[in-house]
Symmetry: C4
Amino acid sequence: MPPLGVELTDRQRLACLHRILAGLGFNENMAGHVTVAVDDDGTMLTSPWGRWWDEVRASDLCLVSPDGDVLEGEWDVSPAIFLHTGIHRARPEARVVVHNHPYHATLLATMGRLPEITHQAACMFDGALALVDEYQGQVLDADAGVWLADAVGDADGVILQSHGAIVIGASIEEATYRSATFDRMCRLTADAIVARAPTHEIAPEHRASLRDAFRTHALDAYWNGAVRMLLADQPEVLQ
Amino acid sequence: MPPLGVELTDRQRLACLHRILAGLGFNENMAGHVTVAVDDDGTMLTSPWGRWWDEVRASDLCLVSPDGDVLEGEWDVSPAIFLHTGIHRARPEARVVVHNHPYHATLLATMGRLPEITHQAACMFDGALALVDEYQGQVLDADAGVWLADAVGDADGVILQSHGAIVIGASIEEATYRSATFDRMCRLTADAIVARAPTHEIAPEHRASLRDAFRTHALDAYWNGAVRMLLADQPEVLQ
Amino acid sequence: MPPLGVELTDRQRLACLHRILAGLGFNENMAGHVTVAVDDDGTMLTSPWGRWWDEVRASDLCLVSPDGDVLEGEWDVSPAIFLHTGIHRARPEARVVVHNHPYHATLLATMGRLPEITHQAACMFDGALALVDEYQGQVLDADAGVWLADAVGDADGVILQSHGAIVIGASIEEATYRSATFDRMCRLTADAIVARAPTHEIAPEHRASLRDAFRTHALDAYWNGAVRMLLADQPEVLQ
Amino acid sequence: MPPLGVELTDRQRLACLHRILAGLGFNENMAGHVTVAVDDDGTMLTSPWGRWWDEVRASDLCLVSPDGDVLEGEWDVSPAIFLHTGIHRARPEARVVVHNHPYHATLLATMGRLPEITHQAACMFDGALALVDEYQGQVLDADAGVWLADAVGDADGVILQSHGAIVIGASIEEATYRSATFDRMCRLTADAIVARAPTHEIAPEHRASLRDAFRTHALDAYWNGAVRMLLADQPEVLQ
């Protein structure tokens, strides 16, 4: 497979995630934050408050404590960091938690609906979707974070009613690819709801192998290409 | 928070507003105008007639009297300046009045509908939306302006039936951020109308705190990022 | 009003029309043609067959006889030139006839519907819309052209069922501005049909003044800005 | 007709196909593959696994055996190459087989619907559309390929339920033009389904001549323009 062609640090890969998703419209102007658990004690690398995803650079990212205190970094972080903390604590495998208000997911969120498993790539979320259908306001303290983690459960793709989306991955690469896929699933579902045509979900017996395929060999193909094209266009993301 | 990194004059900030909103599609080719009340006597800084929002520069802006006479500036202004004058007179806190025909707001305008408060950012318009459901033709004199100001009342986000939108802010920064949010709200609402799915408006008890959050600490984050990216791409806007 | 700042020949203005409309998506890949009546004997300046609207230059345009024979120019013209000839003959004031398959007009064409007069700019087509609801195949000879001109009548904005659109103007500037407006009207109407919400057409008593306003003082504001921005980006169009 | 102006090898033309279609959104990130039968024994030129269509160069393409073994080339190919092999074997005239998950075709695929023949260019698919309405999982071996070829039959435009699209042409040029047209047809049909307005399909007596016109003289006009514009912007595609 064509290689990425460059060694990237965690910070650089996380900066790339921000720009790749912004390029897909997976953001609402300056909203959204991503956390990467970098340590078993709950330390996270996260987005700086006030830098749009379109303009994040590696050096903008902040290292924060499990309670959201900035340990390292030039900027503050969002007070809504607690949207992430409970999930990281409850699920050690959930190393990367992406949150934003991408258009099509937000549209489903206004209707309180989940995306459907109607095309192949969607199978990567088979059995791993959740609708948090109670809007409790912003997630601004640890208790709210615990409540949210409980509502999210084992899901990797989450619609937060009247709010937006959470996408979870075991790595930065996986979280990026899943996020890109999640919003496309939401767009397909929203457009099918509009048509009120019956949709054809993929049969359960086919889902497991597709889920595995999309969680393994497709991942590098996605990430390498997305990053190669990003770096050709916006090399300053690595700074 | 990452700073803007440059000192801007009022004219420069107003020129940025035009280009940022044009970049979002908040315009119908050469239509639309913005006024900024710069003095208690009703003097306004405003858009030049015949310059598209996409190409406005700081030096293009005109200073006009409360009756729309050009006091300073190279160009004429739109005869529809009276769409703004009555509002400025009736509401001293409404320093900035933005008018155009952005697509999604105009779509709701053809249906005579208001956007709904179905996602967090929309709360910045909680209790501050108005539908002017009577189309009286163009607003070409002071009397029409007074009539319109009365119909607008205390609202900050307005749908003008069969016409377009008005968005009002206390500052250029606020009017920009609200305008960007308003058209996205209209798009979400129009798409939900189409789906005829029940939508979930945010409960009244959560709205006040969200409204405050979006009216305060989110504002600089929006403006600084939007202007930084604009200046990197179109520095001539400041001329 | 900010001037265009450059003198353009007829050929250069017609080349600009092609590129401005292509930039708005008023084309289906290489389809479409425009004619400008340059003489009372029916001689026309027209688009070259095989040059996409996105890449037309002034020197690509062809001078053709009333029967579509190329009098001057490097390229052939479309055999569907007869779509234009009957209209020019029947209506001497219809100096410019634009034909293509822009997406939203074509969508209405598949439904056999006309756009509605639901927002201000649409009034420029008040009393001047026609649906040609009989699909007769391609317009490949003079007789078919006469039949079509009869079906078009006095209209300036035409939906050709199962085919596309015709927009007519007295000048290149007017035909450009009307074309841009026509496709936006079609998009608004199609989206309102989808919502099946009742729409609010502009009342007859307001239409005449709006129609006049959009046919006069708005025209230069549209054209000058559209051409200034085009020339800044694609100056080779004038060659 | 304006010429292409450059001689291209098969590899270069196939690389152009990838980039032209990616530019139209006829791809889902890194998904999709194209095969060109280059020999009667079943040898094919095909897309490299792991290179997005947006970044393919001529030197990336792989020569593979009828069983998908790479004979020449730097990269692996997709295990889903068998989606192509059965079709090439069953239909010698089907020299080029394009597969991807373009948005609008995929939307119809989730509904199990075919695009309609409601506008002129769609006639190039008259009598040549097929819906494969049984989802059998990925096409990963020769038997699955034979089953699929049987389901596709003589069609040139195919919706694969819950999956995506196949478009077939006798040449690289034809497959490109048909693919571009196919997704537009799907978009028109999906939008008309949403409106639930009756649509007007083109009458059978007009289809044959339109089909012929679009399969002959329109082809070079499409290809030459699309490639000229691609090469002006991304000349590295030829490397």
